[in-house]
């Protein structure tokens, strides 16, 4: 009897061949990630520290050493921090209600999360420019209710920027939190109550630690998205509030200063990497 007569799966392939096949399978993705992602990022770092005369830190000195550009970096961080904080304060309690919802109500609530998520950022930012105009709905409503007498300027203010950013990035906060809260075993809270813990203690010592992975994931996502947002500040506040993202676009598309734009890009990248690393460490900690 020859080997060929045996059913193929019973002939165990050698470890080497399986490994070779696995490498062949990942090769196309590896080429994409290495060639169109990792290499260009390394090159960007290079562009930021090299000029016609050789190595230089001039771009970083300009970015982190002049008050104007320090303000730009702070604007980015401020946008990220405010958006993340407000999105968290809204999302956290809402996630608990969402986890209790059943049937059609749950479907409707989930749809309100997914629909905006799938709609273009440009479309949503455009909607906020309509909503917040001085003759827009928000002003008209406030005047009709007698809260204000004359329309207040809302578009192109920091309020408009934050409202729009929270609105656009909110789903990225509530979805990871909801995913954890929905799996929360209610018996932990009951056990804590049985053992005499007050609702407040139960929340702080039991619920909050258990939902921490969702919070960390949501905070990291929303912060890294909002700190580098470009469309939202461009449409809702404009030139008045320069951020790292708008400075990068300006350096490349208008001023033709690739070295400086690259430095701003590297700083933004460093912020993103710091957030990812920190959140990975936080969610790996026991408790």
């Amino acid at each position: 009897m020859t080997e060929a007569a045996l059913p193929a799966p019973l002939a165990a392939p050698s470890v080497d061949r399986e490994r070779l096949a696995a490498i062949g399978f990942v090769l196309p993705s590896f080429v994409i990630i290495a060639g169109v992602f990792a290499l260009p990022l390394v090159l960007l770092l290079g562009v930021s520290i090299v000029d016609a005369n050789g190595l230089t830190l001039a771009n970083y000195k300009r970015l982190l050493g002049t008050p104007y550009y320090l303000g730009v970096v702070w604007n980015s961080l401020r946008l990220g921090l405010l958006t993340t904080l407000i999105a968290f304060l809204i999302s956290y309690p809402a996630a608990f209600a969402l986890a209790r919802a059943r049937g059609p109500l749950r479907s409707v609530l989930l749809a309100t999360l997914f629909l905006p998520l799938a709609a273009s950022v440009i479309v949503k930012a455009f909607a906020w420019t309509i909503l917040l105009r001085s003759d827009g709905i928000v002003n008209e409503t406030l005047m009709a209710l007698g809260i204000i007498e004359d329309p207040i300027r809302m578009i192109f203010t920091e309020t408009a920027l934050i409202v729009g950013a929270v609105n656009i990035f909110l789903p990225f906060m509530i979805l990871p939190i909801y995913a954890i809260v929905a799996q929360l075993d209610s018996r932990y809270a009951e056990a804590a109550a049985t053992l005499g813990a007050s609702p407040l203690v139960t929340f702080v010592r039991v619920i909050l630690p258990l939902t921490l992975p969702g919070i960390v994931a949501g905070v990291a996502l929303v912060f890294s998205l909002s700190v580098s947002a470009y469309v939202v500040p461009t449409l809702l506040i404009g030139e008045k509030y320069p951020t790292l993202a708008t400075a990068i676009a300006k350096a490349y598309l208008l001023a033709r200063e690739p070295g400086f734009g690259a430095a701003a890009g590297v700083v933004l990248l460093a912020i993103a990497i710091a957030v990812v690393t920190l959140s990975a460490r936080l969610s790996r900690e026991p408790k």
């Binding site: 799966p9 696995a22 909110l170």
Partner: protein, 265 residues
């Protein structure tokens, strides 16, 4: 006290739902505005803006370009990403964990930074044809969505089922087609939808690779908004939204939306 806390949670959830849906309703309402300014609440209704979408400057080439790039990059990413996910899930790959992290890492990177990095990189090697650079760049935008979804989907797939089918007389391609493809179809669909939308919507990467004649739809739309916003733009946005609603509705029928929220396991 617990009761008050629950009521508070519900108030926040309802408020959040209204807040999230508000801009979409406003866009839809504004698209039927009878006047060129967005007079809300509406005093009448007009569908004339829908007829004007096709006459927006450069609309058709941009729509075609965005569709081509989104469909092609999604197709290529679905193939290469699924193959990579299979290799990672089977555990025969040295350094699989690191590679899995690397595959999804572009998701956490600021899009604008990726955009300028690619602009520099493509320039350095003399690769400057806008259509081709857009396609290659969008592979990095779509691949992470495919990799993330397929790695998660495959982690629940039992590869011994393929061996079982082969022992029962199936050919190797036959057993993959009959056992693995049906089990992974939901993940495949979700991965495809997410990566298509990610590419179709992308602005921060495309803006650095486009030129005057090659502009994707999001670039064109931002340009319209900055130049002369009128209800035509709201009409266009409404149609895109409607397309998304249909896509989501169909995928909800097929696989269930709660699955996309990551609550199924």
């Amino acid at each position: 006290m617990a009761r008050a806390a629950i009521a508070f949670c519900w108030v926040m959830a309802i408020g959040l739902a209204l807040f999230l849906i508000a801009p979409l309703l406003v866009i839809a309402a504004a698209s039927f505005s009878p006047t060129p300014v967005f007079d809300l609440p509406l005093t009448g209704a007009s569908t004339r803006w829908y007829g004007k979408i096709g006459r927006l400057d450069g609309f058709w080439p941009s729509l075609l370009l965005s569709l081509q790039i989104a469909l092609l990059s999604t197709a290529i990413s679905l193939i290469s990403g699924t193959l990579a996910a299979i290799a990672i899930a089977r555990g025969k790959l040295p350094g699989a964990d690191i590679f899995a992290t690397a595959l999804v890492s572009p998701l956490m990177m600021p899009g604008l930074v990726l955009g300028i990095a690619l602009l520099q990189g493509f320039r350095a090697v003399g690769f400057t044809a806008p259509w081709a650079t857009l396609l290659v760049a969008h592979l990095v935008i779509t691949l992470p969505y495919v990799a993330r979804t397929m790695i998660a989907g495959l982690s629940r797939f039992d590869f011994t089922l393929i061996e079982a089918a082969r022992t029962l007389g199936c050919t190797y391609p036959g057993s993959v087609l009959r056992v693995m493809v049906p089990a992974l179809a939901p993940s495949f669909l979700i991965a495809g939808i997410f990566s298509f939308l990610a590419s179709f919507d992308n602005y921060p990467v495309s803006i650095f690779l486009a030129d005057v004649r090659t502009k994707t739809l999001p670039i064109r739309m931002l340009q319209y908004i900055e130049e002369a916003p009128d209800p035509t733009l709201a009409a266009l946005s409404t149609l895109i939204l409607l397309g998304t609603v249909i896509l989501l509705f169909v995928s909800d029928r097929v696989v269930g939306l709660h699955r996309m929220a990551g609550t199924s396991d």
